[in-house]
């Protein structure tokens, strides 16, 4: 993302204040507790197939000028 100078200074002020709120969590940093990533610690038995139907799609939602010979066209010039 890019920001103008004016945006940047506003961003800095706001980020600093929100960071102050968020940094309250650092008190748990050294707690001997496993982090909870999935709320049920739920485990998964992976399926062989996911669904009954064919979910294949074509690039219907992209305007025509963004597709070239079936391929998605992305501005590049070396990245």
């Amino acid at each position: 993302m890019s920001f103008s100078d004016k945006e940047l200074s506003r961003l800095c002020v706001e980020v600093r204040s929100v960071r102050q709120l968020l940094s309250r969590v650092s008190k748990f940093k050294d707690a001997s507790i496993q982090p909870l990533y999935n709320v049920w610690d739920e485990t998964l038995d992976p399926p062989h197939r996911v669904d009954e139907g064919d979910r294949g799609v074509s690039l219907s939602w992209l305007p025509g000028d963004r597709v070239s010979e079936g391929r998605v066209r992305v501005p590049w010039r070396g990245g």
């Binding site: 961003l11 709320v39 049920w40």
Partner: protein
């Protein structure tokens, strides 16, 4: 209807008299009796929409009357063929972050303008299968990041009960549409209170289900580990019907639970002797006085009905719920939003190189709040900060979840939904900390994964007041029973704003 709590503006009743506040289950009964056809129902609701939508602006995209009529005719055809449709002809408003293949899905963001997904969310499929008709896509804070629906890239939605005030957010469009009678049922999403806050501000009912009870397939993600697609309605019974239709295992969502509790719809009469409610101090104390009063009065009424009420429960660690919630939500959000770079979605600000295109597209496609959250989320995950932010928050989350599981195994937790009455437009969005503080009571259920029901318990000077009740995982049937009882003691059911 109870004579108290609603103040001088009991306009819900006059609306009821006009037949607009009919509960969804009542409309369903009329349709199944044959005294109302789906086509007639579509036109009566469209009339209401025409009257109110220009002021409220709940919908980002409305389906054309012709299309809606065609859908109604299709439902009539299916009914004639003897199909039993649980939502036959009901009009369902769908939040614009839930994918629909037949309408644009923007998540309230410019960066997804003109995006029509090639598939339907699982919940949309289930609604359509049961004869529900999607009337339109409702307004929301961009990517569900907000609590007022002012942060939509399109326009703010106004609260039908007071047009100078916000309807809450981020599912404010869905709540507002219900509140003025512009839909029978609605789908929202709740990441940290996004259906419960709007429900509280608009005198409607919203339930954040147990994490995993409703499929997230097709929900444009904000914070995956916290959010659930959530039913919204004007009564507990209506809400139970919609929840029953959309819930249950979905193989396309790996976090979807394989179990579903029996008895969601119709919700059963509560067993008063076994009901225990704990009022959680941390979820009430910081609230404005009218809110505290309305909630305490409601609990008094429950108590006089024979419910055991503990007025002094406490979980001290909840004081850290808000920073824990925001740290996790922002980290997940920064990741989820990485994909919008101008390559796979219609909106693009083309530059000469890929890097410039991605950065220009994001700079112009995202709103300010979203960009700020991305910056903070990136920080929380970055090498030097991950331990003290993201990982620390994930540890804190476990503490809170375990405390909530412990308490809900003993009683239903009652508390405020919002610390304040519906704010005026512009009042909250200038300072991010003031905005985030609106979620202080609601984020707890998302952190713990437990269900939470928000419903109206009173009015103060014409403004709705909500209460939330939380139960243990998969206690939706009991929670809905408790909701029925609360409706009974408050008399607030099927309300429609003037």
């Amino acid at each position: 209807m109870a004579a108290w709590g609603q103040g001088k503006r009991r306009k819900g009743e006059s609306a009821l008299a006009r037949g607009l506040a009919r509960q969804a289950v009542e409309t369903l009964r009329l349709i199944s009796e044959g005294s109302l056809t789906p086509t007639e129902h579509v036109s009566e609701v469209l009339e209401v929409v025409r009257d109110h939508e220009p002021q409220v602006r709940a919908y980002i995209t409305l389906r054309s009357p012709e299309r809606l009529e065609a859908e109604a005719k299709e439902v009539e055809r299916r009914l004639r063929q003897g199909e039993r449709l649980r939502l036959a002809g009901l009009l369902v408003a769908v939040k614009d972050n839930i994918s629909t293949s037949f309408m644009p899905t923007t998540a309230g963001s410019r960066i997804l303008s003109d995006y029509v997904p090639p598939y339907n969310a699982t919940v949309v499929e289930r609604v359509i299968r049961e004869g529900g008709i999607v009337i339109g896509k409702t307004n929301m804070d961009e990517f569900a990041m907000g609590s007022t629906t002012e942060l939509s890239a399109y326009w703010p939605t106004r609260n039908p009960w007071d047009l100078t005030r916000v309807p809450g957010g981020s599912s404010g469009g869905s709540a507002a549409a219900l509140a003025y009678g512009g839909a029978d049922l609605a789908l929202g999403s709740d990441t940290g209170g996004s259906v419960r806050l709007p429900a509280a501000y608009t005198a409607t009912v919203g339930l954040k289900p147990t994490y995993g009870l409703v499929s997230r397939y097709g929900l444009i993600p904000y914070a995956n580990s916290l959010e659930q697609i959530s039913p919204m309605a004007r009564s507990v019974e209506d809400l139970a019907l919609l929840l029953d239709v959309i819930s249950g295992h979905d193989a396309r969502d790996a976090t979807s639970l394989s179990v579903k509790p029996d008895g969601i719809y119709p919700p059963s009469e509560p067993d008063l002797r076994r009901l225990r409610v704990c009022l959680l101090r941390e979820m009430l104390e910081g609230s404005e006085e009218p809110i505290r009063d309305a909630i305490e009065r409601t609990l008094d009424r429950l108590s006089s009905q024979g419910v055991e009420v503990d007025y002094d429960a406490s979980i001290p660690s909840l004081s850290e719920a808000l920073p824990i919630y925001y740290t996790i939500a922002l980290a997940e959000a920064a990741s989820n939003l990485a994909r919008y770079d101008g390559k796979l979605y219609p909106f693009i600000v083309g530059g000469p190189t890929y890097t410039e295109t991605a950065s220009g597209t994001r700079a112009q496609g995202f709103g300010w709040e979203v960009k700020r959250r991305i910056v903070l989320g990136v920080m929380a995950l970055s090498e030097g900060y991950r331990d003290e932010y993201y990982l620390a928050a994930a540890r804190g989350r476990r503490i809170i979840r375990d405390e909530i599981l412990k308490l809900t195994s003993r009683c239903f937790i009652a508390g405020s939904v919002s610390p304040v009455l519906p704010p005026r437009l512009g009042e909250r969005i200038t300072d991010p900390l003031k905005l985030y503080a609106l979620d202080i009571y609601t984020v707890v259920a998302n952190l713990a994964g437990v269900p939470s029901l928000a419903l109206p318990v009173g009015f103060h000077e014409g403004l709705p007041i909500g209460m939330q009740v939380m139960g243990p995982p998969l206690s939706e049937p009991q929670l809905l029973s408790l909701g029925l009882l609360i409706e009974e003691v408050t008399g607030l059911r099927g309300l429609v704003a003037p």
